[in-house]
Amino acid sequence: MGEYFAGWFPADWEFLGYTLAALVQAILLIHVIALGAFVFIWAERKVSGRIQDRLGPTRTGGKFGWLQSLADGIKLLSKEDLMPKDADPILFKLAPYVSLAASFTAFVAVPFAAGWVALPLNIGLFFVIAILGLEVFGVILAGYSSGSKWSLFGAMRQAAQVVSYEVPLGMCVVVPVMICGTMDLVAIGEQQRGWFTNWLIFHDPFIFIIFWVYFACAVASVNRAPFDLAEAESELVAGFLTEYSGMRWSLFFMAEYGSMILVSLLASILFFGGWNGPIPIFTGLIDWFPDYLGNSWVFTTFANLVGVVNILLKASIGVIIMMWVRWTFPRLRVDQVITMCLKYCVPIAAVCLLGVMFWTALGIGFLNDLVPSQPRAMVRESWVEEGQRREAKRFDSLQTPSTDSAKGEVE
């Protein structure tokens, strides 16, 4: 994309083109968070309303109250921005941005369709998890700089919780990495192409369990109920958010929704086939259509757009389930949270890790092998595969000297 935009500008000014490309990508990603937050704030109200046997917002914006989020936003924007006298002014102002930036940065490496990723990294998954862990700094800084003991308590709880839950979370995400042989999120998604039985969650019974552990840990690490000890309003007023109001508060909120979407996206890529739908409609079509249509970038782009819809749908389902969980389960105590992590999540994840290891090593079949029409590709080290792919492409380009158009970006 950068080269394309660079062509718009005269010599010596190409950097403007690259900046433009980066801006486009950044804005697209921002929209995922912003629009996501917009939709999910409304959805959260509706879901909570339905679960509590009421209607939820109905007045603002027509039948479903779909403009409620906008109203909320306006209210927040117009609120007075307060800062306590004891607060550390720099850190207090910085904290929400740290939180949001961490949540946002992680999206850089998340693919939304085959090759549609802002920053293709061969360690994408690792990168995302690492960045996700940084979000806690915002909370810690907020809690500390507020100069309030409730905030400090909330921050400390959050620090302990996140550091603890990174262990089982890491163990859970290692499982798909082990099966796929790569940390490249694009490659992991591509390996699950085909019928839905090819999704990793159906790879073996252990990974099915692992998914639920992952989900629990993800909920804990994005600080949602029933693990929202950092902002437990009944004990700590509102935890690290106590002293925040207005726009700063809403930044924290957007960060939280961003993280929810992020872990849901990750879950859908790692376990539910990512952008691949349950039924491979395009695989057949590509063969069906004549060559000029099947291989054209229009077709690929259309397929990718459907993929984006797929993955966003899956992520939305994940977020909705998180809401459902929030309004269903009571909040855990601190000791219960840590017990849950150390006594249940870690051992279950460890056992399942071993189980998947043996299952994979012994080559036992499961749902994947029930549909014999599409034998699962041999799982290989991605760098071997990538090398072969590059080699093949090089010779292709030699044979047909004039086809290096849209594929440059994918690479």
Binding site: D88, I123, F126, G133, L141, A159, W383, R390
Partner: protein, 241 residues
């Protein structure tokens, strides 16, 4: 991509350099903040930024895995731990503890001397000051591909020797690709995938033993730390109130 690399020969802005300077300024600037501020909490925050910028430098040097590791373990783990410690001991009196001016002067003097020596050393060797190694390899590859394309356009058949040469150039340019995490993992369990590719070199042993030692070390440290920091409620029941 190849056109871009060809263009590297023309005097355009080197984006790698730009990104390096931006990140390095972040890293160094916040390191200075760490050193100068007396507020322990701000120090910790500056440390985070400095370390994150350092991991950015690692990414720029092609060490993706180490960079992500730095983010995860260092920034996400170690510094969280540090801040935890800060919060546990954060009482008003200790947040800012000033040192004597003599300490500052001495420290800056000695540190400055060390830095001047190190800086001099860093720029001592001319080959180290600038690197066109990767660019040259890429340019060579691109030129060869162009040549082959031209041959192809002329209707010549590409021979096996030419393919082999292309492959060699590709490997040479490939050395600049980011290190694969798979190779690092293999090295940690004792197989050196990167070295074994060259048949004339004997396969080097990996880092299995250090890996095991570090694992044991970490375990010992965990136990030791837990032992050191354990709550001694029985003996201090009355005193701590």
């Amino acid at each position: 991509m190849s056109e871009l690399l060809l263009a590297a020969a023309q005097p355009t802005i080197n984006w790698h350099t730009v990104m390096f300077y931006v990140t390095a300024i972040f890293a160094c600037g916040f390191a200075v903040v760490v050193t100068t501020t007396n507020n322990i909490v701000r120090m910790a925050f500056a440390l985070i930024v400095s370390l994150a910028a350092t991991s950015g430098l690692l990414f720029l040097a092609g060490a993706y895995f180490v960079g992500a590791m730095q983010l995860m373990i260092y920034v996400g783990g170690t510094v969280v731990l540090l801040i935890f410690g800060v919060m546990l001991t954060a009482q008003k009196a200790f947040i800012t503890m000033r040192t004597r001016a003599s300490d500052w002067i001495l420290g800056l003097l000695v540190g400055g001397a060390l830095f001047s020596i190190l800086l001099q050393l860093a720029f001592l060797i001319p080959q180290w000051q600038s690197s066109d190694y990767q660019a040259a390899a890429d340019a060579e590859l691109a030129a060869y591909v162009e040549k082959l394309k031209a041959d192809k356009a002329d209707g010549k058949v590409i021979t096996q020797e030419q393919r082999d040469e292309l492959e060699r150039l590709e490997i040479a340019a490939d050395d600049g690709m980011p290190q694969r995490s798979g190779e690092i993992g293999l090295a940690l369990v004792g197989v050196r995938a990167d070295k074994a590719q060259r048949p004339d070199e004997p396969g080097l042993a990996g880092y299995l033993l250090p890996f095991e030692i570090v694992s044991i070390h970490l375990l010992v440290v965990l136990v030791g730390a837990a032992y050191l920091a354990r709550a001694r409620r029985h003996s201090h029941a009355g005193a701590s109130q």
